[in-house]
Symmetry: C3
């Protein structure tokens, strides 16, 4: 049709031109002239009409294209659905955390290590993790999300995890592969209104949604997990949201002190934890009460009684700046627990605590840029606890850690970490341990590749590292079962390695 | 271009108006007038022509949009492919079954329980599961589907599963994680014609496709599984489709009764099961023959011989209504087995059955709405068996279970379950068990949240529950290895808990 | 608007017709006539103008459709993103390898078997696998790929794998489920230029990317794996690309020969392997050096010292034709290792090798069509090694295997395999083994279904098979711990089975 239209143009132009010439002829010929001009005009108008026909026809295509646009609306709708599916907003999605690498001593053999390597480690006293990890640890998280016609949403999460220290590929003998989480969570339930308007409910086995950590120490501030059910995000008042959960945990088998058959029977006990987590602006107040019926039958040591109950509280502040000093973030938490609550991080997970156990912990970290390409993340973790595993025991430890990163190119940065921990531990004879006091220091340098730099939480990373660690000789005497004092691991240690760390 | 077109309109309108005025003037001025009008017309037609040009140009866009529409066809095709991928029709897809929660007694400790908790449980006598499950059990099913240019389709399925009773998150010590299914299935093979037109073939390790269960008892009616190969959906005649499969199973190691070295050697034996599954309308006839060479060398007890062979048949009806009484569904099955076939549910899985063992089981359930928001699902499971594990043993048990659900809101329902089981078990001394008879009853109430109510098979659910269970005292005497009579689990028990159940 | 336009057409046509009639009337009526014709023309031009208005309006739709086209560009962009996600180019993707089936002897019991079934098997001497596999082995590979704004790409891979020989579905007791790979790999890093332009880096636990195998023997030519880091595809010169990696492996615990506390202590040792892999056109030169500090403390046998170091080299050719004879492919490799390098396939995985151990291996295979529907894949694997596990031991073995396939229909083929292996093994008393020499032969026929035939690497397959195996009687005497000579597995064996094999 375009062809025809174009062909028409030329005769029209000729017609216009001849009409112009015709107007220049004698007046006598006026009638004929007019006749002629009229005929020409008629011709031209017919041509114009034909072109109008063509234009109309073509315009109809435009209208169809409009319908097409509507159809594209359908396309867009379907596209949005597959986008939701591809992004995991609906249907399956995959998340992971993993670290894997080598940690070698100057003999080229696997080195001892880990954030919990010091004597304070079994009390939760973590030190810096950079260049200090010995394991291949991986979590595979399989999620499935559903959206319903009534607006409700459901999420199902299952996590399998494994951690081994061997470097081999086939690790069936060493495997710790296990299912750490299996839970469902519902939100946007249409009959939830008022206080429950934004609430979601869950049941199963899980890590609590609101756990948070000091990443550089591989230590949660609180790590609440187990099997149970709960409700998140009730809104009791403006500026007050609240969670309520029941978590069960199992204390491993223990020998029952039975008067009739001493040491002849074993039992396990369940610890039930009621937790209330409250947010007021940046402030968080978490309260936990727990009860483990018959745990007092556990034989922890002569003349001592394992706790049957526990209490725990945490006051935390989640800051939007680097302690008000610069852009960044900080978190600070004060935790206190008694009885079974004296394990202040992994709430309710330790059945060996005495009735009188108390622990108070401070956890704190911040992140900021101290120069355009220099990031800094300092942290403090410190605890005092008494009568923990034995009457009269007394543990004190405090650590400071600083991670520095210098972003050199868009995919490379130099990372540095300095870690210091002081500890004064008096186990009062518990488990054959000796009282010690002293300190631990480490310095690590880690050239680090990442696909794209982008701050504190950007992973994956591939690192090389060299690390120097030293500690007070006395710490080697604490326990025969820990790393310090093991074989040649006695202080002034150099370690080297490579590692990847991934999460998404 | 729109701008130009609009600008042209005003002078044209003026021209028309002045042409009208011109026509009202004297006849003497006619020629001039005509001349003028013609000139105006010429002007107007030139304008019209210019506008036609513009319209043509614009119309060309419409044509391009038509091409765009064709392109959109390509878009739609590509969209359909990603839709197939996103939905799992092609490529990866994820399915799951999971349950996880707490079952507590009135002391706040983990309670005994489970659908197989009664003495009849080890014979397959399941009771109601609501508020009666103690484990975190999860299946993760990873599928991969392919479509071929010749029309053929392939499906690969692998399932990993785990079940633990601890409430802890890290369960490496208790982990039962294992691979339960690994198989491939092909359908729509172009060279399959005639009887095989709609047939599909499979090989690997799997749960048979046509297993079916009484969900509320957590009991399959038949559960055929193992490693092998087979063909589904052969069509021998109108209204007769048929499956044929070979399944292998392994009986666990047993001590070989060896005359020369009595009790000095162990062996394992494989059970091979040939199964033919036939469908005639709503009727199903399943026939199984099995053979486990050398299984008679197994020492099951003095003077008795373990079966080397077995036979099994099931006649089932899959109803489209609630027993013809109302809308809904029902299934009824009568199963009979001899020798190795006397384990009538988990076909071929038990190597301890005697040569003379016989078992006959009735399984039946239905689902219906008894009022607009009230669902009901009753079921019966009953069995008689003789000479099962020892000559002269005699087991009889029958159970009735009813699940009721009252849909209260669009995301909440009240569920109720009543379960009753009578048993008269005479093991004739097998495994130190005592003859008992008596009954078991339970009542459960379970407020249940779900994202959207929607009938019997709609999951996920999050439930709270309270349950009362009682049984004849005599049942506590059956075996020292079962739950009844264990510690304080002696009857008149109250249990409480929370749980999620998920499948998709 | 279309309606209005159509309505206008008719009066216009009438107007044209009447204008024609008017022109045929008397000259006296000329002025009136002209007047009338002009009026008509004016009317028509007004109509034409209205139509031009309409056409313009419609053309505007065409313009919007153009915008729509641009929008469709957005649609296409979004579509391309979901296509990348659906295909696994971005985000999650799933890969698998699996085999599962039954291998039965003529008694209907599970048969011994496997490509490593012969005495040469524990030295790496694999024979044909068709109809010779006893296990359900499955790998589930979960990948996650990310693309960054700066062009960089990251891939995360985790693989879980399991292998069992039981036919049962629930295999918690036998489970070998473990995490075989966890690694991250980065490519297209913007600051990688020059030699590193196309290089990618990785860290974690993995199978080396460039391992390759002789599929029909289930034997890699090299299988390098472990935990470490490396860099692929450095380009040192035109036609020379090179990889450099560090892999760690762990030798299992062994008793330390300690003068003070003989046999009283255990230790594990790490083997560090530096590998350089170089490609020059079709040629590959791989060099490995390894060191396992303190491995000489291992007690392998009196008067012998386990190696602390090792060297290994492989020269390989990757051919694009069937040995230059016809279309197809071939690969040939010559491997030599000393000390810890004398395990020439699974590099660095064996800590029991002596200081003097040497091994030289030839590996070779080709694939071609020998007739339109006949594929052939012959292979050779042979090795000589000395002082391997004990001074003076001497092992020689060589095997030839041919797989033939006749593509019968588009989803069915007949597969055949003939395997022969000669071995002359003198362990010089190591581990109580006896010197033997002799040969092994097998013939297998396997009717094979696949969704679509398509050459050597097309899977999934479902196979039936019958196999005959025979060997020299003397081979039954080699070791009490291997299959040969076990129970009734003494030669002239028939086996039967079904199996699926899957990869994608």
């Amino acid at each position: 049709m375009t062809m025809n239209a174009v062909k028409l143009k030329t005769p029209l132009a000729v017609a216009i031109a001849s009409a112009g010439l015709a107007m220049a002829s004698s007046a006598n010929a006026d009638a004929t002239n007019l006749e002629q001009r009229l005929a020409e005009l008629e011709e031209r108008i017919e041509a114009a009409e034909r072109r109008a026909d063509i234009a109309e026809e073509r315009a109809e295509l435009a209208e169809k294209a409009t319908q097409e646009r509507l159809m594209s609306g359908e396309v867009r709708e379907r596209l949005e659905k597959v986008e939701r599916q591809a992004s995991g907003e609906e249907g399956f999605s995959f998340n992971a955390y993993a670290r894997s690498g080598l940690l070698l001593n100057d003999q080229g053999k696997s080195a001892e290590g880990g954030p919990y390597v010091t004597p304070a480690g079994n009390l939760g006293g973590a030190v810096g993790r950079l260049g200090n990890e010995t394991d291949t640890y991986a979590e595979a998280i399989l999620n499935y999300r559903q959206q319903y016609d009534n607006g409700a949403k459901a999420k199902y999460t299952t996590m399998i995890a494994d951690g081994v220290t061997t470097s081999n590929d086939w690790t069936a003998d060493e495997s710790d592969l296990n299912v750490r989480q299996v839970y469902a969570e519902f939100s946007d339930l249409p009959s939830f209104t008022g206080v429950f308007e934004d609430a979601s409910i869950w049941a199963g086995k899980r890590f609590d949604r609101d756990n948070f950590d000091i990443h550089w120490l591989d230590s949660d501030v609180v790590f609440l997990s187990g099997t149970g059910a709960g409700i998140y995000d009730m809104k009791f008042a403006d500026g007050w949201t609240s969670n309520l959960s029941l978590y069960g945990r199992s204390f491993s088998d223990f020998e029952v002190v039975n008067r009739e058959n001493p040491g002849d029977d074993t039992a396990s006990t369940d610890n039930l934890i009621i937790t209330s987590n409250n947010y007021f602006g940046n402030w968080q107040l978490m309260l936990n009460a727990m009860s483990a019926n018959d745990n007092d039958e556990r034989d922890i040591e002569a003349n001592q009684t394992a706790a049957e109950k526990g209490g725990h509280a945490m006051l935390a502040y989640h800051g939007n700046s680097f302690f008000g000093l610069s852009d960044g973030s900080f978190k600070a938490a004060l935790l206190h627990g008694q009885g079974l609550g004296a394990e202040v991080k992994s709430i309710g997970s330790n059945g060996n605590l005495t009735d009188d156990a108390t622990a108070t912990r401070l956890a704190l970290y911040g992140t900021t840029y101290i120069a355009p390409a220099w990031r800094m993340a300092p942290s403090i973790l410190a605890e005092v606890s008494d009568d923990r595993f034995a009457e009269g025991d007394d543990y004190q430890w405090a650590g400071l850690n600083i991670r520095l990163a210098n972003e050199v190119t868009e995919n490379f940065e130099m990372q540095y970490e300095a870690s210091y921990q002081y500890m004064d531990l008096d186990p009062n004879g518990y488990d054959g341990r000796n009282p010690v006091s002293g300190d631990y220091s480490s310095l690590t340098i880690a050239p680090t590749f990442k696909p794209e730099i982008g701050g504190f939480w950007q992973r994956p990373e591939i690192r090389l590292y060299a690390s120097w660690k030293d500690w007070s000789d006395e710490l080697n005497e604490y326990s025969a079962n820990d790393s310090f004092g093991n074989e040649d691991f006695i202080g002034d240690e150099w370690t080297f390695g490579v590692q990847t760390e991934v999460w998404f």
